[in-house]
Symmetry: C2
Subunit: 336 residues, 2 copies
């Protein structure tokens, strides 16, 4: 039985295992510096579908089913699918779930969905409710761009602090047994809003939530930055990453030596993405690809991953609302 | 520790308690036959806000905080808030959560959100992860109408099988102790799609999911329709209710004597709502108001509630997709 530690964290005594992961990315992400860590790089970001929305749903379905295949499991072996995405009414996830014979719990946490689904999945495993659970999410540059920003055909000029939504889907399969990376702590975040109104500066809107959850994780668990080989936020990008580093130092936590942001890593400096990558798929593919594979190979032993979500909608922005953020943290450990 | 029974259900040995509920509805819902069961009936469905979206968020916030007050608890006593709604990027829930100092798990299950949040909350209680959890959801006629259908100013004629989205929010507070109604089983649904394409006939699109989850609940638990005083689906309306009754009879389950649909009950026949009520708020306020109060007064002893969601988006419909549905079931028992 897991037990509560501090205000927002659960220590998982059963140590649910991540027994397989799968990542699918678009051509641009495949061309980036982490390209070799992704399981499938699409040649065409429409993935043979008639719309970008259907393409996004199809890559999420692909990530989920491929993750199952890697573990030699069938859909009927899985007790829960936890998934969500950025599209209105999480349509990518709903339509992927329609084609899967797995009980489905739909989530919305914007770009925080990878650790939201993974953390919740780990709690359900720890509670003894499941043998296998899949946590998954996706995003697609072209479906997000036309839903949240402008029609692609406009060719709008991008703001220097704007992010590039990752085309990608990631899935993680949780199980009870075997020699695999374990989930040891789950820290669930609160919604934080420091009054950012610029939808082209999402890094700044999400940084307070990332800072709050990282700080709370340390307070709850008694751990320090030195306890981790790697601390990875989701998609703060270079500006949000700078804010996070600076403010955490002011709170007395210096994470500089081990800190990366998935959005800051996924594209090269020559790829013209301004602040960096974003979208649910950003931390999903970096966590499922780069980070998981480096854990499996022994290069990383203790990792804290946080996906970070900007909880805006086009309606809330048009109605003058600021942009709240949220971040959930999951500790993964292997080989000690 | 809860244990899995059958394919999709968990039996909760710790029997998490619903220690308080609160329901807020609009004027039209207050005028309906269940009006006296709701805790607060608004005089103005804008609730003093500048937009319908902000109004919806404000009534959700009101339901959550009032539910806490009824139990003499503070926000800091609550370990998780589980909530979602129909709006793009669940903005009602995100903005309500922003003003609450509670770790937040955002959900999207369309109109299935009340039992999705309640069922998940019950599992987290059973896992030993929380002392108190709030499960909540909302919908608003005017925010849903203009997002999913047409601008209100058009005064569009309504299809005979169309539903009327309930303006309402409901919250349930789960705890461990006390003499309160208990949650005994949670059955998590799968996404079902029988090819309905008419967004004006959501009852028919959700009925297959309701039927599947009810049938699975009986199979998993070994219970029969006679074990329940009341079986209540969320918002199938009169047409979806008829389909559910008829098809369940074909599967060998006759639930006619104890079956109601919240969407079929919430408005009077003189209120011109065609098929009946819908929206996340529909089952939320009927469950939190009418059903919970009748359980507390001893009129109902064993109840099975199912909220039912139609997982469409305007984009999926415009792209020619059919409408998938989902339903989650929660058993509530008291006084035996």
């Amino acid at each position: 039985m897991g037990k509560r530690v501090g205000k927002q964290s659960i220590k998982l005594d059963s140590k649910p295992k991540i027994i397989s992961t799968y990542s699918v990315v678009g051509p641009k992400e495949g061309d980036g510096p982490l390209g070799k860590y992704f399981d499938l790089v699409l040649k065409d970001d429409l993935n043979g579908q008639k719309s970008y929305e259907k393409a996004e749903s199809s890559i999420l379905y692909n990530a989920i089913t491929s993750c199952l295949k890697l573990a030699n499991l069938k859909e009927s072996d899985v007790n829960y699918l936890l998934a969500g995405d950025l599209l209105n009414q999480i349509s990518s996830s709903n339509f992927a779930a329609r084609d899967l014979d797995i009980p489905f719990i739909g989530l919305y946490g914007a770009c925080s969905t990878m650790t939201e689904s993974l953390g919740l999945g780990a709690l359900l495993m720890e509670g003894g409710f499941a043998n296998y659970i899949i946590a998954a999410t996706s995003s697609h540059f072209s479906s997000a761009e036309r839903q949240f920003r402008f029609p692609l055909e406009y060719g709008s000029q991008r703001h220097p602090t704007a992010h590039w939504t990752v085309t990608g889907a990631g899935a993680m399969l949780l199980g009870k047994e075997g020699n695999f990376p374990c989930i040891t702590y789950v820290t669930t975040g609160k919604v934080k809003d420091y009054g950012i109104t610029d939808a082209n500066n999402m890094g700044a809107s999400m940084a307070p939530a990332a800072i709050d959850t990282i700080k709370q994780h340390f307070l709850d668990t008694g751990r320090t930055p030195e306890d981790y080989d790697l601390i990875a936020t989701g998609d703060l990008g270079k500006y949000g990453k700078d804010i996070t580093l600076k403010l955490l130092k002011e709170y007395g936590y210096d994470i500089e030596k081990t800190y990366i942001d998935c959005g800051d890593e996924i594209y090269g400096t020559n790829q013209e993405v301004n602040a960096g990558g974003s979208g649910c798929g950003c931390s999903a593919v970096v966590d499922c690809g780069y980070i998981y594979k480096n854990i499996m190979s022994g290069k990383l032993k203790k990792v804290l991953i946080l996906s970070t979500g900007a909880l805006l909608s086009t309606t809330s922005t048009l109605q003058g609302e600021t942009i709240p953020g949220i971040a959930h943290a999951v500790s993964i450990e292997f080989g000690e």
